[in-house]
């Protein structure tokens, strides 16, 4: 499928009888931009339930049996040999040496819905009645790199466009002055930029990174958004002369889409220079809001800032926003107790704050929040106090636009190892996300290297069981 927009060239072709290129050349540059921008807001395949997505990515793989998937039997049989067969290519030791390990955390039923959530997410649990937990996720890839890329691009071995890129490709943006896809503090490893890259889709659909996982959220910025040489006024003057020269060049060559595109890109960039820092400036938020996200506390400050930025971008019309707890932080092969506690302490309050804030602003109506890692962790002990990767069964949750509230979908087996009931593969989740955004994952295609590519390759079924109404 070609991008849904009408290119200027096609317009010239189709309007040859009416008005020619000269009439078009007379259009204002704004209108011209709109007529050719591939980012122009597009009509979805059908009525969408959600307008935008905030994806809270838990890099490293949080444990399902310690968070959202309560397994009393696992606790009872702590230390016992496995009553099931270990998955292929997963365990490093032999079956007879593997032992079950109970969760060190207590689970409680929460809210009116009675969702089981562990004490690691006490604050998120206050929103239990808004959550739609999927306890039957499964994916491909036993290693982080594979699973992270599978989660972000649908492929565990090849470079493919990321989910956000497909979204912007299919839907365009709501705000022409901002990128359509933003990734806040992404990890640089495990695929790195490929996880927000557009691969073979045109570069306009790639995600824009704000900082990276090695940078504090406070310092995070879009690259080259400002310089310290020129004042704003001086830069406006500089741009003035530049654009005058460019316009003269355009006039001299008469018609050239690309030159026109460059001229527009300078205008847009200049607007971004003022708009993005304003959006990222959290001081304009009330003290209550800042506290809601935990920005005033050391443990929650970083992730809190990321979440609050995400809300501001969502409000401003960014289509797809990823917020990452990056650098593989959830990867507790050992030190599960310490590591998971440290992580949950840094994200629990900010996430709860985000949900509360979106709700009070009415944004949860058309914003979909997605939480999860690239896989889960084994109910089996690794060493004395760790858990290995568990791609064959894990949990993610969604909240907001279009999904059921206070709902649990699917289940793992009694020990939380294999997804067992109403299994949801990551391809199914991708199909569902597109569906909620008003797109048919089988129709959103792009032709490259002789094939019509999809986010879901040849797989994926929409999970109707989690959709509200």
């Amino acid at each position: 499928m070609e991008p849904l927009n009408i290119s200027r060239r096609q317009m010239l072709k189709s309007s040859a009888g009416g008005f020619g290129y000269l009439a078009l050349a007379g259009l204002s540059s704004e209108a011209a931009l709109k007529s050719q921008s591939p980012l122009l807001s597009k009509t979805p395949h059908f009525a969408p339930r959600a307008k935008r997505v905030i994806f809270l990515f838990m890099h490293g793989g949080p444990s399902q049996v310690d968070t959202f998937d309560y397994k009393p039997r696992l606790n009872k049989e702590d230390g016992k040999r496995l009553p099931f067969k270990a998955a292929k290519n997963i365990e490093q030791s032999s079956q007879e040496n593997l032992r079950l390990m109970k969760s060190p955390w207590k689970f409680k039923q929460r809210g009116e819905s009675g969702l089981w959530i562990s004490e690691l997410f006490d604050k998120v649990a206050e929103h239990a009645d808004d959550l739609c937990v999927i306890n039957s996720m499964h994916t491909n890839g036993q290693s982080h790199g594979q699973a992270v890329m599978k989660l972000h691009t649908g492929s565990d071995s090849l470079v493919r466009p990321s989910v956000g890129s497909w979204m912007v490709y299919g839907l365009g943006t709501e705000n022409n002055d901002l990128p359509g896809f933003i990734s806040i503090c992404p990890s640089r490893g495990h695929g790195g930029v490929r996880n927000f890259g557009s691969a073979f889709l045109p570069a306009v659909y790639q995600g824009t990174a704000i900082g990276d996982a090695d940078t504090a959220a406070k310092e995070a910025s879009i690259r080259f958004l400002s310089n310290n040489i020129s004042s704003e006024d001086q830069q406006r003057k500089q741009l003035g002369l530049l654009q005058a020269m460019n316009q003269r060049h355009l006039k001299q060559v008469q018609v050239d889409n690309e030159i026109e595109g460059v001229i527009n890109s300078y205008e847009l960039a200049f607007r971004m220079q003022s708009e993005v820092p304003a959006l990222m400036d959290l001081t304009s938020e009330t003290k209550e809001t800042q506290e809601l996200y935990g920005i005033n506390e050391k443990t929650t400050e970083n992730f809190g800032r990321q979440c609050l930025m995400a809300r501001r971008f969502a409000e401003a019309g960014v289509r797809y926003i990823e917020v990452a707890l990056g650098n593989n932080k959830w990867d507790q092969h050992s030190g599960l107790k310490k590591g998971h506690e440290r992580n949950s302490q840094s994200v629990d309050k900010p996430i709860a704050g985000l949900l509360a804030d979106l709700k009070q602003r009415g944004l949860l109506e058309d914003t979909l929040v997605v939480w999860g890692g690239e896989f889960g962790r084994t109910p089996i002990a690794q060493g004395t106090n760790g858990r290995d990767h568990n791609p064959q069964g894990y949990s993610m949750w969604l909240a907001g636009a279009g999904v059921k509230r206070g709902h649990v979908h699917g289940a793992t087996d009694e020990y939380g190892y294999y997804a067992a009931r109403d299994k949801v593969h990551i391809h199914d989740l991708h199909a569902t996300l597109l569906h909620l955004m008003g797109m048919d994952h089988k129709k959103l295609t792009y032709r490259y290297a002789g094939r019509d590519f999809r986010l879901t390759d040849v797989y994926g079924d929409v999970v109707h069981g989690i959709i509200d109404g």
Binding site: K88, R188, G189, A203, Q235, A244, D256, H425
Partner: protein
């Protein structure tokens, strides 16, 4: 179990019945069979059919659907026939009945039903039913889907060869044209002929200023310098232009520019990318090889052969062999999912990537499509894909492990030939180093032992009874010390190196405090790969007894010990335990023997003290020894450091492929699933592009050599067409075939098929010389046209398919950066060499990254910048430098705000603008007007006119007055103002575009 016997009997009876044609069988048996049959049908009706209806029919009934359900389960015939992957049910055979794999959710197959695994008892019912012979009364025909499918036999290759790109190459006649004056060569006549047919004429020729800027950027990627422009303008000779072209083709910058075009196809990078982003320390050699090949105008057919099979080609000398090996880096360059734990999958994913790039780079064919099914659009059957897969699977690309992790694969690197003196120096150095390191190691472990530092030491100390460690045992033959497996006692254990079986023995003699009954325990770190039957002989009061010990598993007691039994021993050094390697297969490992008294407890410490005698020493001598050893360690470390300083250059290595020891054909992987292999396919090439007899693949080699020869032969209809079109694309911005990487049915048709064939044929005839081809094209009038606009022409041919003008092009990412550096005077034109030697082993680390130090050669040409996957330099990435994981023959040209931000704010552009300003301000003999004009000439390739000069100076003046309010230093302010202006020039569209 019972049901199995029952059903075997049933099948036997049925066979017997058939054999006797049912007539002579006793009536009783017949009756029994009927009864069993009845029971089978009942079982099906009760247990199987309802499950099929409930869980399978939704997709697997009615008509098979090629894409999602290639077979049906609603008739017995459909069930037995199966689909793409094979038979769903084979009566009586559990292994071959794929339906079982599916319902068991085998990770290597399909998981059916997809959303939920059936309960175990239902799966057991299916097993039982299949063992019963899969009784099933259902009737009805199933539409056989596999017959409908296109197969190799079904493709009409003769007809397909009428398609323009598969047609045999013939040299077309150069057309006659009306306007005899315009054409400069045959190219122009092809172009003009088409224009005349459609009543279009071309615009005027480009002026000389435009022409020299175009020629410079196209051939060298750099702008012409002011004096070069002047020289060309002054040269009135008719050969001036041709001489310019020849001069530029001969410059080293030509190879850097055109080599880079090739590197886009080779997905060149200095790191692996994907998840384990390891640095490719040797990739630069391939990059330099490519640049050199272009500079030397290596014949393109040879260039192909070297990249596909350089390691298998004959060579005259070391230099040639070196180049040949390096060239195969083309096949290794792909991004690999190194952490894939299914190593066969990794291997076949790499093969797939190699097939894909080979197909697209050399032939413009999208072969990857045929991995799972016959190509949907092009005449490429799956068998062609797997014929190539056999070749690449017999090639070694994935190799070894990295990061000390069994799950992380590595890739092939190969040593390059070195001079004998170098080899000798290396050998001597390595020997010296090893000797020192061995001594260091020995001393260090001795210290550890004396200091009792390790857990294993502690473990040994804690043991009760009498323990004889391997250190104290009497050894016959060469036993290797080891600490590889961690479950040992004391300082380590020993193994027999899996060598000289039967010649090695090890004997443990305890000094027992009292006579009596002892339990004898044998300590060894058991694991896979170790010997299965190790003879252990116990000499006791009762005589001699030999026990055979299985060492392939961990020992049962505390993962350390195995009990050999209870024996009577006399006091003192009388009894013994002897371990032999006789008749063993696999490593024999020996750690210690423990004697546990069964009669009365023995004072532990006393026993240990006795047993450990050789290790024990008085405290003072022990301390002295430790001190001495530490001194030794320190000295050795200094010696090693010194030796390393004077080390000869390391053995040069290259990213390169090799041959697998067991070359073989591969099998069709059904639906691309490597765990579902079908028929074997002979190794070979594309049927469609084999116009004459193809070479046979040697059974002793991978077949790469034959592939290389087949690809590069003149008769291959695709190879020459594809490269000629690529060259055209780089000179005109668009190819004669616009889909440069796709010459199949989904690609575009050539705008000038005869011209493409003419040039391709001539290219082959003239020895596959790229420089000759470029020369020919650049001398055409067509290339020399201006890019001026014409409304009338635009109306008729907006896409400029008839080439009525030159396409205006945006400069490439490299050209923008290199031109800026060239204008600022900062450019470093040094050629070749590594750009990533200062990188860590993981170019990008998934857990934490420290900022990379400034690239020591940051002003080198862009082609030499580190191309780390996932971390491409911003100056390149923003201007559509392709993702280095992917083959890109036609870079997209996008206009995104990130480019504008880069021009407005990046430190690179600002510092280079300042360097430019400093440079121009130094020309004190020039007026400000002249300075502006000079800048214009450098950036735009033309002088500024009066009003442009005035506009510039007005801007500079106004900025100076505004800046001087903040800063009183006049020189500073002047520099800042000129810097700001230079930045405008770099950001301007006229600079960024090529007319």
């Amino acid at each position: 179990m019972r049901s199995f016997r029952y059903s075997s009997f049933f099948i036997l009876v049925m066979v017997a019945l058939n054999f006797f044609n049912g007539q002579s069988a006793p009536a009783q048996v017949k009756k029994a069979a009927l009864k069993n049959n009845q029971a089978g049908i009942e079982f099906f009706e009760n247990k199987i059919r309802p499950v099929l209806v409930k869980h399978c029919y939704e997709c697997h009934s009615g008509e098979p659907d090629e894409e999602s359900a290639s077979f049906v389960l609603d008739t017995r015939e459909g069930l037995l026939q199966g689909g793409d992957s094979g038979k769903s049910v084979v009566p009586g055979n559990l292994k071959q009945s794929l339906i079982l794999q599916a319902i068991e959710h085998d990770p290597d197959f399909y998981a059916m039903p997809p959303d939920e695994k059936l309960p175990a008892h239902i799966i057991q019912d299916f097993q039982k039913w299949i063992q019963m012979g899969a009784p099933d009364p259902r009737k009805g025909k199933s539409k056989n889907n596999s017959q409908k499918k296109k197969s190799a036999a079904a493709i009409d290759f003769t007809k397909e060869r009428e398609f323009w790109s598969f047609r045999p190459l013939k040299k077309p006649k150069v057309p006659d044209v009306k306007n005899k004056n315009w054409p400069a060569n045959a190219i122009d006549r092809f172009i003009l002929s088409k224009q005349e047919q459609s009543g279009l004429t071309s615009v005027t020729a480009a002026d000389r200023l435009t022409l020299i800027r175009r020629a410079y950027f196209d051939l060298t990627g750099l702008p012409p310098k002011a004096e070069e422009i002047q020289m060309f303008l002054n040269d009135q000779s008719p050969q001036a232009y041709e001489q310019l072209i020849d001069r530029l083709l001969a410059s080293p910058q030509y190879g850097e520019t055109w080599g880079r075009h090739w590197l886009d196809l080779a997905r060149y990078a200095d790191s692996n990318g994907l998840d384990i982003n390891l640095t490719f320390y040797n990739a630069w050699k391939y990059r330099d090889y490519v640049i050199k090949a272009f500079n030397e105008d290596k014949p393109y057919d040879q260039f192909i052969r070297e990249q596909i099979a350089g390691d298998l080609l004959p060579y005259k000398n070391d230099a040639e062999q070196t180049q040949n090996i390096i060239a195969t880096g083309f096949l290794v360059m792909g991004a690999k999912m190194l952490s894939e734990r299914d190593k066969e999958k990794l291997r076949m994913d790499v093969v797939d990537e190699q097939i894909d790039v080979t197909g697209r780079a050399f032939m413009g064919m999208t072969l990857g499509c045929a991995r799972c099914h016959d190509h949907k659009f092009d005449p490429i059957p799956m068998t062609d894909y797997y014929a190539l897969a056999g070749i690449f699977r017999s090639t070694e690309t994935v190799h070894g492990i990295r990061l000390n992790n069994q799950f992380v694969s590595g890739w092939m690197t190969r040593p390059l030939p070195v001079k004998p003196e170098h080899a000798a120096a290396l050998k001597a150095y390595e020997a010296k180093l090893k000797a020192l390191e061995d001594k260091l190691k020995a001393d260090s472990s001795q210290i550890k032992l004396l200091e009792d530092k390790t857990d294993q030491q502690k473990r040994l100390k804690k043991l009760t009874g009498i323990v004889v460690d391997d250190l104290q045992a009497v050894k016959t033959g060469a036993w290797q010390d080891s600490v590889y497996s961690k479950n040992y006692l004391g300082a380590g254990y020993v193994h027999d190196k899996n060598e000289e079986k039967g010649e090695k023995k090890i004997r443990f003699v305890p000094d027992l405090p009292a006579s009596g009954k002892y339990e004898v325990r044998f300590a060894f770190p058991g694991s896979k790969g170790r010997a299965k039957r190790v003879p252990v002989t116990i000499h006791s009061k009762q005589g001699t007894k030999t026990v055979y010990v299985n060492q392939t598993k961990e020992a049962p007691i505390d993962s350390l010990f195995l009990s050999l039994g209870h024996f009577e021993f006399a006091a003192g050094k009388v009894g013994s335990v002897e371990i032999s390697t006789k008749g063993t297969r696999g490593y024999v490992v020996v750690d210690a023997i423990q004697f546990l008294p069964q009669d009365q407890p023995v004072e532990k410490d006393a026993a240990i003290a006795k047993a450990e005698k050789p290790v024990q020493a008085t405290d003072a001598t022990k301390q002295a020894k430790i001190k001495l050893l530490k001194e030794n360690v320190k000295n050795r470390k200094t010696q090693i450091a010194k030796l390393k300083e004077t080390a000869p250059p390391p053995k040069p290595m290259a990213l390169a492929v090799g041959e697998q020891p067991d070359p073989a054909d591969y099998r069709i992987a059904r639906r691309g699933n490597i765990h579902q292999l079908g028929d074997k396919v002979d190794r070979g090439f594309l049927t469609i592009a084999s116009i004459s007899e193809s070479p046979e693949v040697s059974p002793k080699q991978s077949g790469r050599l034959e592939l290389a020869n087949w690809l590069s032969r003149p008769q291959n209809p695709l190879t020459s067409r594809v490269i000629v079109n690529r060259v055209w694309k780089h000179l005109f911005g668009k190819g004669l075939v616009r889909s440069v990487d796709n010459f199949g049915h989904l690609g575009e048709q050539p705008t000038h098929p005869e011209l493409l064939d003419y040039l391709s044929q001539q290219f082959v005839e003239q020895g596959w010389s790229i420089k000759t081809l470029i020369h020919e094209i650049m001398l055409s009038q067509t290339y020399r046209l201006s890019s001026e606009f014409s409304a009338a022409h635009f109306e008729r041919d907006p896409g400029n398919k008839l080439l009525w003008r030159m396409n205006r092009r945006r400069l490439s990412a490299e050209s923008i950066r290199d031109a800026v550096l060239s204008i600022s005077g900062q450019i470093d034109l040094k050629q070749g060499g590594s750009s990533v030697s200062h990188y860590p082993e993981q170019a990008v680390n998934p857990n934490k990254n420290t900022k990379m130090k400034q690239n020591p050669s940051e002003f080198r040409r862009s082609v030499y910048l580190p191309i780390v996957r996932g971390s491409v330099p911003a100056a390149l990435a923003v201007f559509d430098f392709p993702a280095p994981e992917m083959l890109v023959g036609n870079r997209p040209v996008t206009t995104v705000p990130a480019q504008a931000l880069f021009m407005m704010n990046s430190p690179f552009v600002i510092t280079q603008a300042q360097a430019t300003a400093e440079r121009i301000l130094k020309a004190v003999d020039k007026t400000d007007q002249e300075k502006i004009s000079q800048l214009y000439l450098a950036c735009m390739g033309r002088k500024a006119n009066g009003s442009e000069q005035a506009e510039a100076l007005k801007y500079i003046q106004s900025l100076m007055s505004s800046k001087s309010k903040e800063n009183s230093n006049k020189a500073d302010v002047q520099l800042q103002a000129w810097t700001s202006y230079c930045q405008i020039l770099f950001a301007s569209t006229e600079f960024r575009f090529l007319n």
